[in-house]
């Protein structure tokens, strides 16, 4: 258990050392690339004054809700599209389109329709999570071996049984790959929403730090985002380890 983490720890140390040396010798000023120590000091400060936990909690809420909504929609729609090529042909242009629209372009519409509360951020986050999970659901379900459908049909299994006993487990590896991507992107999704109307969350902290030239604060926010992304990614990896044991 502990042994497995040694290479990661070593690489982390090397990263910190490299970063520290970079700030010392590259000539890049501290307000553009702060030193590890100044970021750490700023972190402790933001922890003790409670601002970091508070804003992190807000962002995390948005992320979790966005993930849930995005993954649910993507799974349901993806399954439907996997089953019907004609439906896919009609819908996929719109789904692709939804991914190519920059939030800034429709920010006024979003705020008018969804308000400037948590809802618009959850929707933006869900929209970003949606696509990778959708595509991988389609790819995963399409690749289910036909032999297993034959088996289930010979047993007169119901649609639901085929779904749960064959399609779900067989497409799980690819689906979880999509979830890995979606979970990682969800963090950026929530932040993009917060950048549009900044009043709270890590996106706000980030923008505030930027505005105040408090670059260590910006880095604290970025590292918190990274920690959130790693946590979500780690959860998906745990699911993979649990459910895909049969594969390795």
């Amino acid at each position: 258990m502990t042994k497995r983490f040694i290479p990661i720890l070593l690489s982390l140390l090397a990263f910190l050392l490299g970063w520290d040396l970079l700030t010392r010798f590259s000539g890049i000023p501290n307000f553009i690339l702060p030193s590890p120590l100044s970021v750490w000091t700023r972190f402790l400060k933001a922890m003790s004054d409670g601002s970091l936990p508070r804003h992190t909690a807000i962002t995390l809420t948005e992320i979790v809700l966005g993930l849930i909504v995005g993954v649910l929609f993507a799974t349901v729609v993806g399954y439907m599209l996997a089953k019907s090529r004609s439906l896919e042909k009609v819908l996929s242009p719109y789904l692709v389109a939804s991914q190519a629209i920059p939030v800034i372009a429709i920010a006024p519409l979003l705020v008018i329709w969804l308000g400037d509360g948590i809802l618009s951020k959850v929707v933006i986050c869900a929209l970003i999570v949606f696509f990778p999970v959708l595509v991988n659901t389609i790819v995963g379900v399409r690749a289910v071996p036909t032999a297993l459908y034959d088996l289930m049909n010979s047993l007169h299994a119901s649609r639901a049984q085929i779904l749960w006993k064959v399609e779900a487990p067989a497409s799980l590896p690819v689906f979880l790959g999509g979830l890995r991507i979606g979970a990682t992107l969800s963090v950026i999704g929530a932040i993009v929403g917060e950048l549009v109307d900044a009043e709270s969350g890590l996106g706000f902290l980030l923008q505030l730090g930027d505005f105040q030239y408090d670059t260590p604060m910006v880095f604290v926010a970025v590292f918190t985002l990274i920690a959130l992304a790693l946590m979500l990614y780690g959860i998906v990896r745990m699911l993979e380890n649990k459910f895909l044991k049969w594969q390795s």
Partner: protein
């Protein structure tokens, strides 16, 4: 007297503007078109990137100058960025609180108990609003702030916001052009705050003060010309603003008019120390800077003719 001979290489300067191409930048466009920069030995390249990125790059010595708003200078210096404000452009802080006429918001006190929409809880809009509230002896607790992103005009037009914060030369004009009657509380009418101007790195000031002088001089010439010949300046600027033909020429004309109003000064480019004191007090009050700075390094009138 800094003009170099034409065949001598011009100094190339990339200038972060902090906003997209806009008629407000007429003085710069004029200074280019009229050859003021060229005469000063300078070739300008406009760079419309984010304001804070421009300041950071000036602070890092990557770029010599940037166009910035007043509070940026103090915020940057508070973090140790070696930058100095070398010429004032706006004499008035350009932010306004804009309310639908039927609300009858005439003085800052009228904001009490109201919901106010603003882009976010930072930035010039927020600072301007706080200064205005201070002038009306109100605190943030007396109003409800609603962060709505840069969607003030849209949300007011859609009926979702009745009071917003914006730029005097932008949102009120746009709203009126949409047929919405609004009243305006100009921050500048209640508080004298350091506003937009030219920022230089301490590096360029130390190493090449003549360049700074030449740059400031050329800009102020452009400013002077624009204020004296707004119509010609307007014509000149058209070429610099993409899609200008799509814009409502009337509104653009008004933008320039309102802006010129805000530029007026006895001595163009001059920074009023009191305005900097005031700005510092607002920032201290807001907690955006922790302790008073040595303002003498933050701005200088040394390069202003």
């Amino acid at each position: 007297g800094n003009s170099k001979s034409a065949n001598e290489a011009l100094t190339h300067i990339r200038l972060p503007m902090g906003y997209i191409p806009n008629i407000q930048y007429a003085p710069f466009y004029v200074a280019v078109e009229k050859g003021y920069f060229k005469d000063a030995g300078i070739e300008i390249e406009f760079d419309y990137k984010f304001e804070t990125d421009g300041v950071a790059l000036v602070g890092a010595g990557e770029l010599p100058f940037a166009v910035v708003s007043g509070e940026q200078v103090l915020l940057a210096r508070a973090q140790g960025l070696p930058v100095t404000y070398v010429a004032a452009w706006y004499q008035q802080y350009p932010v306004s609180v804009i309310a639908k006429s039927e609300l009858g918001v005439i003085v800052p006190q009228d904001l009490k108990g109201k919901k106010i929409g603003l882009p976010g809880l930072f930035g010039a809009n927020y600072i301007g609003l706080r200064a205005l509230l201070n002038a009306g002896e109100l605190t943030e607790a007396d109003v409800t702030l609603d962060a709505i992103g840069f969607n003030q005009v849209e949300l007011m037009a859609a009926g979702q916001q009745d009071i917003i914060v914006g730029y005097a030369a932008n949102e009120p004009l746009q709203l009126r052009a949409q047929g919405i009657a609004v009243t305006e509380l100009r921050v500048a009418d209640y508080a004298q705050l350091a506003a937009n101007g030219l920022l230089a790195s301490e590096k360029v000031i130390a190493e090449d003060p003549e360049l700074v002088r030449a740059f400031v001089g050329a800009f102020l010439k452009g400013l002077r010309f624009t204020m004296d010949n707004p119509d010609e300046a307007f014509e000149i600027s058209k070429a610099y603003i993409p899609n200008f033909s799509e814009l409502d020429a009337n509104v653009q004309q008004q933008v320039l008019e309102v802006s010129i109003e805000q530029w007026k000064a006895e001595r163009l480019g001059y920074s009023d120390p009191q305005a900097w004191e005031n700005m510092q007090n607002v920032l201290l009050d807001m907690g955006l800077i922790a302790e008073p700075l040595d303002l003498s390094n933050a701005f200088t009138n040394e390069f202003v003719p």
